[in-house]
Amino acid sequence: MIENFGIVLGEWRLLATGLFNTVWICALSGVLSLILAVFVSLLLVSSRHGVRRVAQGAVDVMRAIPFLMLLFIVYYCLPAVNVRLSSWTCGLSALVVYNTAYFAEILRGAWAHLPREQTETGHAYGYAGLRLYHRIILPQIFIASGPVLGNQMITLVKNSAFLMVITIPDLTFMANQVQAIYFVPFETMLIAVGLYWVVCSTIEGTVRRLDRIAAVRGHE
């Protein structure tokens, strides 16, 4: 048992590469999703009925399908219509599209709960349009939804384990490699799970910090 751990740790380079890949692809898709979600949330509250309907429909569809299905669609179905992407591009775009839907919905919800008076006070103090959104609305939405966004980020990390099925060498993929070479599944998976736990509890720590910020700055 102990020596099995030794064998697995001997392949620490593989596991480290996997961890590194998992972390950067999650971080990058998290950031991209958040940026896109800001724009999508604007569509979700558009004053134009048609725009709002289409955007909400797209978001609802994304939230209704399992991430693995989306991944398969991007990886297997797009080549059928002559769109060929590398597995990395497929994985990244699937993660981004999927999480943008969740993030956008979270931001829309936070906006819906923002007291109408905040917008009105903005108007009274000379804000309109984009400046109102940027200076008054968006900071409050971010503060209010920070903890929920953080939790969604943890879901993103866990979903990223599916990327191994399209051959992206993430932590799950590499762990699977190691156990297949040495036939030590228990020890390998235990270590991989431990690494996932470290990543997720780091995010969890950030969530708790965001909670404290929201407690002070999230309401008047």
């Binding site: 009105e120 009274a124 309109a128 008047e220």
Partner: protein, 261 residues
């Protein structure tokens, strides 16, 4: 626009303003004028249209009829050089609203910003005044309302009275030509009303032009230059406070005052 003006011209003039929400006629041809340095108190029972009147003055609500002039300039209506008139865009309205300072019943401070942040937000990002100048004035305003030590606190950490004093300072930081108060003490605990009224009294004495919608009879009596009584969207009586409280001209006002006395 830039017609010749005499010193006695009102800062704010409202001419026969009307506003309805659906089938409810809230304002019926309200007119008023406030000269520079004067304080007008608007009294009246709840539902009389006081708050709507105030919100129509800076066009937070668009009035259905009538007009508002800020130093002779029509609020909410853009007048081109050719004399052609059209409704102001949101952006034009926003710019014009920076010349009003508004204090709300529920304070409506921006919770994501510190006290100081609330004061300097609009002067820097909307009025585009220089940072150094705005900061110096904001610090002076904090001294004035006695909350220097709360400079870096967030609104959620303040009492109601402190919040409203900060809200007043936020309005003053805009260097407004007129201050609009919408029942500024109505949501405060009784023991906190005094500190807010003290700040407002000081402003009235210093010659800040103000329109104050309030239920505080004592404040109206001491601080107002003129008192207006509104009922069912109509101006019932406008008079100097001595007259208004001493010998009201109408039965409606007498009845109202009796209930409050």
């Amino acid at each position: 626009m830039s017609e010749a003006r005499t010193p006695g011209d009102p800062v704010i003039e409202v001419r026969s303003l009307s506003k309805r929400f659906g089938t409810l006629q809230v304002l019926r041809g309200v007119s008023l004028a406030v000269s520079a340095g004067q304080t007008l108190c608007v009294l009246g029972p709840s539902g009389s249209g006081k708050s709507t009147l105030l919100r129509c003055i800076n066009f937070l609500e668009r009035p259905d009829e009538g007009s508002v002039y800020l130093r002779g300039e029509r609020v909410g209506v853009h007048r081109a050089g050719s004399g052609r008139e059209r409704a102001m865009t949101d952006r034009e309205l926003a710019r014009m609203r920076t010349r009003f300072g508004m204090v709300f019943q529920q304070f409506n401070l921006w919770p994501h910003l510190t006290v100081l942040g609330n004061l300097i937000e609009s002067p820097i990002h909307v009025q585009r005044r220089s940072w150094g100048e705005v900061m110096a004035e904001a610090e002076a305003l904090l001294d004035k309302i006695g909350l220097r030590e709360k400079r870096d606190a967030y609104p959620s950490r303040l009492s109601g009275g402190q919040k409203q004093r900060v809200a007043i300072a936020r309005a003053l930081a805009m260097k407004p030509e007129v201050l609009l108060f919408d029942e500024p003490t109505s949501s405060l605990d009784p023991e906190l009303v005094g500190e807010v009224l003290a700040v407002m009294r000081a402003l009235a004495r210093e010659g800040q032009t103000m329109i104050v919608v309030t239920h505080e009879m004592g404040f109206a009596r001491e601080a107002a230059d003129e008192v207006m009584f509104l009922d069912e969207g109509t101006v019932v009586e406008t008079a100097a406070p001595d007259r208004f409280f001493g010998s009201p001209a109408t039965a409606r006002v007498r009845q109202f005052l009796q209930r409050y006395a």
